[in-house]
Amino acid sequence: MTALRIAPPGTRVSPLVLALAAILIVLIVPPALFLLNVSLHETRPDGSLGAFTLRFYRELASERLFLSSARNTVLYAFGSSAIAIVIGTVQALIVERTDTPGRNLAFFAAIISLGVPHILYVVAWLLLLGRAGPVNDAIHFLVGPAHTIDVYSIWGMALIEGLGFVPLTFLLMSAVLRSMDTSFEEAAIMAGASTLRAFWSVTLRMGTPALCALALLFFARAFESFEVPALVGLAGNINVLTTTIFQAVHRTGMPSYGEAGAYSVCLVIVVAMLLFWQNRLSRNAHRYQTITGKGFRPHILDLGPWRYASAAILLALFLVVTVVPVAILIFTSFQPFYEGLSIEAFGRSSLNNYRVLLGPGSFRDSIANTLILGAATASFVVPFTALCGWLVARRTPGAVLLDHLATLPLVFPALILGVAFLDVFVNAPLPLYGTLISVIIASSVRYLPYGMRYAYSGALQIHPDLEGAAKIAGAPFVAVFRRIVVPLLAASLISTWLVVFLLSVQVVALPLLLVGPGSEVMAVTLFELWQNGQVTELASMGVVWIALMTTVSTVFHLLTRHQQIAA
């Protein structure tokens, strides 16, 4: 509501903002109401809602594990966000601002990493860092068998979750750095600042909105994330809030979502406060507007011999974030069972898992549905949030509401979002239940916050003079957005499209309850393998998936290369 307050008196909320808000309300309010309702009512044995109660809120706070879970959650959120943001930003700086050889491969690496389904990424890291994994084998060999790293710890959780989000940081930060006018850095260097100092005090400061956007995204996401807490945390008896709630949901026979609903409602409030704080920051938006009408060529730092050091850093990141986890999946996919890395194990390799997987009647049926799901979700989310993000960055009256609405789904735990949407669609007046369209709508809602944070931080960089000039020249509003804003944002819009595509095709919990017989998507097959299959079959499915996603991403990259260069 800040925007409304500081807007000049008499300013009216524009019909466009109202229209966008209406779309968001239609999309987001029904599942949000479901969450609110289950948190405020008893659940009857048949799953319908009974008497009003506040007991879930009381129980949430008096939960025996609440304090320790909350502390673990904060540590986990801080740790994983810090790892993702620091590593991803360093990577982006090296790629965008130095002459390090081979730096463009980093994009390729990021795309492959994003194509690895999160659940498999976690499994790969557990195979690597587990008690019987190659890392501990090496430590035992070098230091002695008494020394073992324990991955089932809060640090193991933060590391695995953090590394998984490095590619997202890298893609956003490199888009930001690429479109940032470097004349400020040059001025600082001319004034006698060292290169490092210029990076620190100018480049990073200019990137503050993007860093805040990422921090908000990852921090809130850690509060909602489930795979790492379930697979890594629980095995080490470390509870975070989501796993405590998960156990509450499954406490008795009929699942009860009261506590989970209460938890999401509390998270909504926390995120609203974070957004409020971020909006205050953008009051000084002009400080970050670096995209002006002036032409500029990004300042590329000549590192001299140091460029081999930076190349080594990139290579190390490439190995750790992409190659090693993917390699361990490939290795596992050829095994009849996984028993650690050994010469003996190599001898057992065979193509059996692939034969089963690629045989008739497997996931091949659902490829088309999956690609439609990903493309439709990304094609809705990206333009929609670009428009919203721009309106918010321009502090258009009422637009702050768009920001809050579009960020809200970030904190709906995936655990319960599927149930909420099931309830919405099965009761909807339109016959959407069981169709692919219902999955597309649900997955668009889930990824709105990602599009929103990326678009907003991109739009903040654009100096309004350009738009002002266009308006004075008589361009209508739509033309300003289409001809000025979109081309300037192209680089970040394209990478956002790819991010949303790759994330939405791999979500399992959400489509599972929404699809009907015959409209399955690939992620459901993956989930089934996860539930019933052996880890080696799961790995082979993962390898095929990664190959497919890499192909799709490469084709997309080639098709849009022209745009990226233009930007």
């Binding site: 044995p45 048949d46 019987a132 095995a235 406490r251 026979g253 996984y338 309850l513």
Partner: protein, 364 residues
């Protein structure tokens, strides 16, 4: 006047329509109920004719798609080409969530639902209606529900799994009391967050030993620093045992280690006295849209042919005239000479909540 007359007509029409809709619904339910409970001599022919008219049937099941559901639907449609059978696969909790949402919204897609725990949860919630199938006559007594609320489809036996490289066969626990040996401290993993995990172990202990002794036993077990494994699937836990992460896992499906062992994996299962067992249950949804097709499908899944498909998919059939896969037969308690404790849905229903509570107090 004309306007009034028109309005009266409309009101009359609406009232007639509503009454006939309600009557049709009641009649429909009654008809469906008659069909489902029919024991008339022409029952088989009647449901065949009815299914032909309905033309389709939908199954929600927790069984594996590739090895079980797809072959089932292929064989069913080969036998009855005039009925299109489609299926949706989810875990028990998801099946209940989806079926429940459909029932509450009166927007039913499922006709038949199947899975471990599906019967008791769905019946309890009032999502089902009773039915009769002549196929139960050939089943052993304990796999029949006298009230016709569900039928049993496949059996599961629970045991421990141990990594044969980390634990020699001679050392592996042979009884529940062996699990209390201090040398296993911090080495025993079990699954949390699912009814077939820790609650099932605790329930079987309470039923086998009585409340007091079970509680004394579980208190000692809590001293063993149990590893609470939270990823949900028993198969995954066995994979972690094979990888050497956990030397011993409790309460896993006894046949999973055998399947991996046959491929050379360093793992084995051991039955402890008593061996807990459960059975998957199959229900027909309340307000079922294809009652004849549903019965035809239920009959088929329980027939020799249907049970053979489940056996081929590495499940244990409920029919005694269908044999499980030879490699898996060794863990059938009767053959191994170890007493079995069959946990019927009713037994689990009565005990799970308290078992959960005991788990939270002692092990969390």
């Amino acid at each position: 006047m004309i306007f009034d007359h028109g309005r009266t007509l409309i009101v009359r029409f609406a009232v007639t329509l509503t009454i006939s809709a309600v009557l049709a619904a009641i009649a429909g339910t009654a008809r469906a109920q008659d069909i489902l409970l029919s024991r008339r001599p022409d029952r088989d022919q009647a449901i065949l004719d009815g299914a032909r008219k309905e033309g389709q049937v939908v199954l929600y099941s927790a069984a594996i798609v590739n090895q079980a559901l797809r072959p089932l639907s292929d064989a069913f449609m080969k036998k009855y080409p005039f009925v299109k059978m489609t299926f949706w696969r989810g875990d028990t909790e998801e099946i209940i969530a989806k079926l429940g949402a459909e029932e509450r919204a009166n927007n039913l897609v499922a006709d038949v639902a199947e899975g471990t725990g599906v019967g008791d949860l769905a019946v309890d919630a009032g999502f089902t209606q009773p039915y009769f199938t002549p196929q139960v006559d050939v089943l052993p007594e304990r796999y029949r529900d006298p009230n016709g609320r569900w039928s049993y489809t496949r059996v599961s036996y629970f045991s421990i799994a141990y990594n044969t490289k980390l634990v020699a066969a001679a050392d592996a626990p042979k009884s529940y009391d062996d699990l209390l040996d201090p040398r296993w401290q911090g080495k025993l993993a079990w699954r949390v967050g699912t009814a077939s995990g820790t609650p099932l172990f605790i329930t079987s202990m309470r039923l086998a030993r009585g409340e007091d002794q079970a509680l004394a036993y579980l208190r000692k077990l809590a001293q063993q620093k149990m590893i609470n494994f939270g990823s949900g699937s028993a198969r995954t836990l066995v994979d972690r045992v094979i990888a050497g992460e956990f030397p011993i896992a409790l309460n896993i499906f006894a046949h999973h280690p055998l399947i991996s062992k046959s491929k050379g994996a360093p793992v084995d299962s051991r039955l402890l006295d008593p061996v807990p067992s459960t059975a998957g249950t199959m229900v027909i949804a309340k307000g079922v849209r294809h009652p004849n097709g549903a019965l035809l499908l239920v009959d088929f899944i329980l027939s020799k042919e249907g049970q053979q498909i489940l056996a081929d998919a590495e499940y244990f059939p409920v029919r005694s005239d269908v044999k499980p896969q030879p490699a898996l037969a060794s863990i059938i308690p009767e053959r191994a000479g170890v007493p079995e404790l069959f946990l019927s849905p009713d037994l689990l229903n009565q005990n799970t909540a308290l078992s959960e509570k005991i788990f939270e107090e002692l092990f969390q």
